[in-house]
Amino acid sequence: MGIKKVGLNRNIKPQSLAEKIFFLDFMKGLKTTIKHLFRKVITVDFPYEVVEPAPRFRGVHGLRNVDGTEKDDFNAWVKKLKIKPPEKGETRCIACKFCQAACPVPEIFVIKAKKLDVPKDHPHHGLKVLDQFDMDLGKCMFCGLCTLACPTVCIIHTDIYDISTYTRRGWILNKEQLSQIADDFIARRGKEKYDEKSEWPDYQKLWNDTDTARAKAWDNNPPQFGPNYVDQN
């Protein structure tokens, strides 16, 4: 580790008389800018063209439904919390409130389970179902602590980022809306983000490397992934 001085021989005055008269310092700068004039456009034409967020992007939350890709211990969790075993298409949430406990702003969540109103001899007697799951995203800072705490990978982050509404009420999502958001997301990009046991797979990529909009932002010379990194021009 060394200490290096910069500016010791800094050149304060424009160097020579010739440079001064012919504005060579400006010329050099202009040369750079003029070069840029002939480069391809690097900006994205939003909203007609959008960059696809990375798989890890933490956008609006969703609540996943049972679709056969649960973790192996899912049923054990359901039993432990005395939840009615969910059918396919019903929510994975077991109302354990781990997400709320992990969250720095627990007021965001309102999670309630209710006992099923069934006769004594019914197999579901004494079991509960999720009744209310509201999230007030106006208070959320999208830190991701809740999703890392959920034992059933029920609450997830999707790639939706445009959540502006006209009233604060618009940021409050209930469980139907959250489920819908998650379903759409899984149908759209589930394969990219989760493996068949709802884990983040090793093959999860930094971002979709075939995205043309993103390629533009990388000077139309996007980096290629993979071990065979070849020098690019």
Binding site: I3, R10, I12, V110, L145, N174, W200, Y203, Q204
Partner: protein, 585 residues
């Protein structure tokens, strides 16, 4: 002489004890404090400064102990730059007053005002003891332990609260905490500055040139600024108060929101402090990832600075070019951490997730690409005569100023003070990488520009070394989950019942830190970002004081601008590069 910054040694302590027999010494593994009575405080500080070489002022704060007899404890941090030692001095504020130390260190002026604002401790002899963040006439002192976190909701503001029948749980309270009225603001402004010259000019709080919400008041004679003061607090969110009711992990997202331009550096500085406190050692891979991410963030932050700084001076093209490069860095950070700005990626004991596929390839691509772009910026700027006229010999900061005001980061290094926490107190992998510390010679805006440009090159160099190393560590652990204080990964929770219990306990009760105090800092692009954590053995910190580099660096602005014009104010502010999220906290 040791190379690394450590706490005051025995020899010096003995000498001090000989001189001041009444002191008592409090030692923690990562902090050493000297207790002194209020009467002798000034003498001790003076002798520390003049005889023992502790001439650099770092921080001052108070801690509230409601059950103790004197209630408020003042804590001073000083540095001896020659022997590379730190010391803490503690003094009880009897009758809620302390003597001012602004005659010893000018930099204490704002720190004392902040302590007055937050705790109500008065400083005898302070030249203008007004509030720092809140407005004049605000009746409470928010960091006192008896002040509730959500404040006193006394204003009825129904317009903001459309009552919502569908989701009764999410009703908003129609009562709010009070906001300053126009009269309050006028009173605040009047209290800061006594008009002496021709006219008072307000600059900000919402002006693009102020890089955030800072409110400047200039007292002007013609074109010349005679006096200046700054009103901060428009972005004050009371992060230190919030920290007292959160667990150590839950506080990580809040550190992002201080210096939002270099969120990763803030997280690393905070997490390192907590790890030292909890005695957690992250695995080597996590350390390399952190160092790499920090340096990426540093380039990102310097690019934003360069772009906006050039924009202020009139070079619009540079702004477009730097944002092009910054966008790529944002892409990388988004892909790895999940969010572009407030990434919340670092965890106690490592990082939250391993690097995804392709991350290193992309970073390598960037390393290859970037030096050419840097050259482009330099061709346009460095020798440009407008650039030189606007920068050279503007806002000269001397070495003495650095110690007086506690200036850190680029501002200190441009004045020739080799104060870089990365080299002085290496955390993570900084002791394993090679880099140079660029230093300036004059200490003007032009030097600060040169130093920042060179720092980007050095950061690039560090990233290169990290990428090489991370390639070898491909399959290593990224989180030290075997440690009892580290939250396990989901896979582990699923595999073992112990992990599940640990996970549950850590989330509900927090990390039970030992009863200890610690001060540790990290090198943020804006200077030294220090965290002073007081733990009482609970899962939540008793007090966290954030020593913000930008806050102290901004303070010298009021001195430097005297006798200059408003046009220079823009340049000077840009070259000090404060971020309001961090100054206000």
């Amino acid at each position: 002489m040791q190379n690394h910054l450590c706490w005051i040694d025995e020899e010096k302590l003995k000498e001090i004890k000989n001189k001041f027999p009444e002191i008592s010494i409090e030692k923690f593994p990562n902090a050493t404090f000297i207790y002194i009575s209020k009467e002798r405080l000034k003498d001790l500080l003076k002798s520390l400064k003049d005889e023992f070489g502790f001439k650099m002022f770092i921080d001052f704060t108070c801690v509230d102990y409601p059950e103790s007899e004197n209630r408020f404890l003042g804590v001073y941090f000083l540095i001896n730059p020659k022997d590379k030692q730190r010391v803490g001095v503690k003094c009880w504020a009897t009758n809620e007053t302390l003597p001012t130390i602004t005659d010893l260190w000018k930099g204490a002026k704002w720190a004392e005002r902040e302590a007055y604002d937050m705790f109500g401790v008065r400083f005898e002899g302070h030249e203008n003891l007004v509030r720092m963040f809140l407005w004049e006439g605000y009746p409470y002192y928010p960091l006192r332990k008896d002040f509730p976190r959500e404040g006193y909701k006394t204003e009825y503001l129904p317009s903001l609260n459309e009552r919502n029948k569908d989701y009764p749980a999410h009703n908003y309270d129609p009562n709010h905490t009070p906001l300053p009225t126009l009269e309050d603001l006028e009173r605040t402004q009047k209290a800061r500055i006594k008009k002496k010259a021709q006219m008072v000019l307000n600059w900000g709080p919402l002006h693009p040139g102020t890089h955030g919400t800072i409110w400047f008041i200039f007292d002007m004679e013609g074109e010349e600024i005679k006096q200046c003061d700054i009103i901060l607090g428009q972005l004050h969110r009371g992060i230190e108060k919030l920290a007292e009711e959160l667990t150590y992990t839950q506080f990580i997202p809040y550190t992002d929101r201080m210096d939002y331009i270099s969120a990763l550096c803030s997280q690393v500085a905070y997490v390192n402090t907590v790890e030292k406190l909890l005695k957690v050692e992250p695995p080597p891979k996590a350390k390399w990832i952190r160092t790499m991410m920090c340096e990426l963030q540093r380039i990102n932050s310097h690019l934003l600075w360069l772009g906006t700084y050039a924009l202020d001076i009139g070079a619009l093209t540079i702004f477009l070019y730097t944002f092009r490069e910054r966008e790529k860095l944002m892409d990388i950070i988004e892909g790895i951490a999940g969010i572009r700005l407030n990434s919340s990626y670092i965890r106690i004991g490592g990082v939250s997730k391993d690097l995804p596929e392709g991350a290193l390839d992309v970073i390598r691509h960037f390393i290859k690409d970037f030096p050419e772009k840097l050259k482009e910026y330099e061709t346009i700027l460095t020798k440009n005569r407008v650039w030189i006229r606007r920068n050279v010999n503007i806002g000269v900061i001397t070495e003495e100023d650095v110690y007086q005001y506690g200036l850190t980061g680029v501002v200190a290094r441009a004045s020739g003070v080799p104060y870089d926490i990365r080299a002085l107190q290496p955390t993570d992998a900084y002791d394993k990488v090679d880099f140079e510390i660029p230093l300036g010679t004059v200490g003007d805006c032009y030097d600060r520009y040169l130093v920042r440009m060179e720092e980007m090159r050095q950061s690039l160099n560090i990233i290169k070394q990290c990428v090489e190393e991370l390639e070898k560590l491909k399959d290593d652990k990224y989180l030290a989950t075997e440690n009892p204080y580290v939250l396990p990964t989901l896979e582990e929770v699923y595999l073992s019942i112990e992990s599940m219990v640990k996970d549950f306990n850590l989330r509900i009760y927090g990390e039970q830190a030992p009863e200890e105090e610690i001060y540790l800092s990290g090198e943020n692009p804006r200077g030294e970002l220090g965290f002073y954590v007081v733990s009482k053995g609970d899962g939540k910190p008793y007090r966290i004081k954030i020593r913000s580099g930008a806050f102290y660096n901004l303070q010298i602005f009021t001195e430097l601008i005297k006798g200059r014009t408003v046009a220079d104010a823009v340049v000077l502010l840009g070259s000090l590069d404060p971020v309001v999220g961090e100054t206000d906290r």
